[in-house]
Amino acid sequence: MFLTLKELRHEKIKFSALSLIIFLIVFLVLFITGLANGLANDSGSAIKETPAQTFILQKGSQSRLNRSNLTNSDWDKFKSSNAAKLSVTQATIQKAANKDKKTDIAYFITDKNSFLAPKNQSGEKIYASSKLQASGYKVGDKFKDSNTNKTFTIAGFTDKESYSHSPVIYLTFKQAQGITMSNSFNAIALKKNLTKKSGYQVITKQNLIDNIPGYSAEQSSLYLMIGFLYVISLFVLAVFFYIINLQKMKDFGTLKALGTKTSYLVKHVLSEMGILSGVAIILASLVTYFIQLKMPASMPFSLSFSTLLATGILFLVIALLSALLSLIKVIKVDPINAIGGNN
């Protein structure tokens, strides 16, 4: 550490530049990770945040809610307090007073008091996810289903649930008459694990989310970018760090000749890289955190503390891996070169 701190102090510009590169890459990784998580929530949080674990779909519906059609005779086979019927219908609403402004939404239609329904759902009163507020709706506002002209009043907002990037409006089957077919629905949600039931397609919650239109395409392309960023940073950091250390090989030889153990120098190189990337990661995390606070609600961005921590640790590992190339060089340097420098 003695050498490390002295060197960092003396070579401020060189090491700040390296730290800046790490900072920028970590920031980019965190930003895209936040975007990927945000889009994932925007796509499937209305499903993800439910206590359901398993979904029963019609056989042959390819894990897609909109391709599944179940009836009350199916319901009879699963009926229990841990089961709930679900219909999801994507539709368009407009303010009762203003016909020009339309908003895409998803109706989540369940039985009153089922575990998928918001509490207090009754009569004409309906609840919407708070995401609808971004389109200018307030508690007490009336809206009209554009297709059927049915009018509802917003009684309150739930959390930021979203389905396929649209706000969710919760209805009971009774309220939804006319909007969706009566006596049929898309799926049965179960609170427990179930792997198989003959005559049905049984899938996990994550499986259902993965098959929400657009979800997998968005997520896989963003995670591909993140993966590439990790690989790129591994190489970029390895090369930069290698060049910096290459300039110091003569000093490493001298230090070894003076009796410095190779293990001491290995620790020196690792702690140097560790400190530089540690500082950069902490700064990038802070900046990302503050940007998240300032981000408009309509921007899908979400970064939990655990994701932040995991990204930071993963990056530290990448940075230390990138020091490997330099380490090999440092281990190999022969102290004999310190003598006879004239040859």
Partner: protein
Amino acid sequence: MPVLELKNIIKNYPDGQNVNEVLKEINFHVNQGEFAAIVGPSGAGKSTLLTIMGALLSPTSGSVLLNNQDIGQLSKKQQTDIRLNKIGFIFQNSDLIPYLKISDQLKFIQKISNKNPIDSDKILKELGLGHRLNSYPNALSGGEKQRVAIARAFINQPDLILADEPTASLDSKRGHEVVKIIQETVHQQNKAAVMVTHDERVLDLVDSIWQIEDGRLKRVKA
């Protein structure tokens, strides 16, 4: 009793199909309080001999006795430990660590050693470097750098000092001053020292002179 004694040292380097016999049956000794010089033409094997004395290189055969311990065939780890605790090096270009301040050059050695540290700043002051304690090496003149290197070589109280052409990068006046400092410190602290040099003008300061030619060493002044 000699501090360092070489017995029948042979060093061969492979040279294609043949072997290059760089050192041939070398015998050498240096006593406590003695400042010895080794002179010889370029390519004679001076650097090779000094690296064997300094536990940086193992001889092909023969023994290297430092305080009667054979350091000729030690492991790399043991060699490192001997260099840290028993030997002080003064290199040709002083080879100070560029990112350490002058006083830290010495403190670093004390840090990695287990010996009780002595007052390193005091030593630097005695060598006329009191105003340079907080400077980095690039601010120092060649002579000043070599004085720091001398202080660094002595700081861990080694038994043996090895100097590799310490005047090579200095003009003759500064060169003579630097060797004079080595001589005085060796005598004051009663150490054994070996200096490899080209420079005939500093030979008035040494106690014994050895000449190496074509891999053979002989004593020319006792």
